[in-house]
Every structure is written in structure tokens, then in C-alpha cells.
Symmetry: C2
Subunit: 124 residues, 2 copies
DNA sequence: CGGGATCCCACCGGATACTG
DNA sequence: CAGTATCCGGTGGGATCCCG
């Protein structure tokens, strides 16, 4: 009577494991939601500290409103910090937190894939 | 006269390298654009072959129209293949191509990050 | 079952102007 | 410079009906 129960449990466990993986990816996508966040994080990941205008130049196509909104969301999720300097006119710098830097593994894989994809498309 | 030129070249090269990394990430984001593609690929990555309705259940919240559209784009980019079986009623299966499976490294990293993120949020 | 066609609306997001 | 406010169009995406 043990074998049947165990196989049943195993099946349930597998289903749970699948749901768990789907859910974990979904959780990450939630944090990285929107069209620009990953590009913003990439720029900060590569360049370190970055000012508003610099980010706008790095992230091709983004407008000030969207950049502002995305930065705010990333700050709320503790992926980056905003620092205001009392200069004239004001200077604002954005920088990844240690936690934000943990996303670099994802960014790295996306960079690798993008490079080989471009080769694949243009190279034949 | 060589030193100044070399340092200048080095600077230019670094700027190009930055732009290249940003571009490669951007290229990947282009292919994976939209709200659902990564979830779809995740499901196919975990489950293997998958039917339309199964995918709709896996990808929580997606409607038939969006699922159809996203699948079409993924097929055009050769990340998955669509197979129609002549049953009654018709059966359609989607499956990652070998090329589509090269995205698994990205999915994997996103899964890892999502798991630790959930721990971080819920565990304190 | 696996979608396409149509209708419809929320909101994403761009352009511009303005403020501290 | 670093945003905010306002206006406004495009489209992402849901609901429903329909067809092979």
C-alpha cells in the first residue's frame, strides 16, 4: 500500500514544482515589469552611478515621464538608490543597491543571448 | 605621440563596449517583448510540448487573443514550432525549438532570482 | 478545441510646456 | 538639471461571438 501512495505524492510534488518554477519566474517579471526597467538596470550595472539625463541617453527611446516613473518603482523595490546633491542646479544620481546588483546574472545572460542572436540574424 | 592616441582609442573602445552591451540586452528584450512571452517560454521549457488551452492555464491571466498573438511572434522568431494534428476536434501542440531552448539560461536565472526574492519579501 | 473577427476601453507612454 | 503637469493618441488586452 506504500508504493501507490508514494507515486501519487511524487506526481503531486512534480505539479507543485512546476507551479513553483512558473511562479518564481512570474515574481521576477513582476519586479521587472514594463518596457524599460531592464535597460535602466543594465545601464547602471555597466556604468555605475548615473544621472537622470545620462540614463535618458543610455536607454534609447525613453521619455522623461517614463524614466521618472520606472526609477521610482525600482527605488520602491530597493533595487536602486536616488541621491540628491545640493549643487546649482541640482544634481541627482542613481545607483544600484547591492540587492539590485543581484539582477546582474539575468542581465548577463540576456547580453550573451543578444550577442549570439545578432550574429545568427546578420551572419547569414 | 603614441600614448595620447592609444588612451583616446581606449576610451572610445570602452564607450563602444558599453553601447554594445546595452545593445545586446536591448536586442534580447526586443525578441522577448510584451508581457507574456517569457512566461510562455517558461511553461514550454518546463513542460515540454503544450497545447493551447494548457498554455492558457499555465500563463495566468492571459486571454486567447494575446496568447495567439504572442505564440505567432515566437514562431516567427523560430523560438517555437506549432504542430497541428488531424484529430477531431483538432489538436495543436507548441514546442520550443532547439534555438528557443537557448533561452533557458535566462529563464533559469529569473527563476532563481524570483525564489530568493520571495524569501526576502515574505521571510521578515 | 483552437483560434479569428469585432467591439471597446483603460492606460501606456510620447510631446510639449512649465517649475524649482 | 531634474523632474512635474497636461494633453492626447495608439494599442494592449478583455469580452463576446463565430467558424472549421
Amino acid at each position: 500500500m506504500l508504493k501507490p501512495d508514494m507515486s501519487k505524492k511524487a506526481i503531486i510534488h512534480d505539479a507543485d514544482a512546476c507551479k513553483g518554477k512558473l511562479r518564481s519566474v512570474h515574481d521576477t517579471l513582476d519586479i521587472l515589469s514594463g518596457k524599460w526597467k531592464i535597460s535602466i538596470i543594465s545601464s547602471l550595472s555597466i556604468n555605475g552611478k548615473r544621472r537622470f539625463m545620462e540614463l535618458q541617453r543610455d536607454v534609447e527611446g525613453i521619455g522623461a515621464k517614463m524614466l521618472s516613473k520606472e526609477l521610482k518603482e525600482l527605488e520602491i523595490n530597493e533595487l536602486l538608490v536616488r541621491t540628491v546633491y545640493d549643487t546649482k542646479p541640482v544634481t541627482v544620481e542613481y545607483e544600484l543597491t547591492p540587492y539590485g546588483k543581484t539582477l546582474q546574472a539575468i542581465i548577463y545572460e540576456m547580453s550573451i543571448w543578444g550577442i549570439q542572436h545578432r550574429k545568427r540574424i546578420t551572419g547569414r
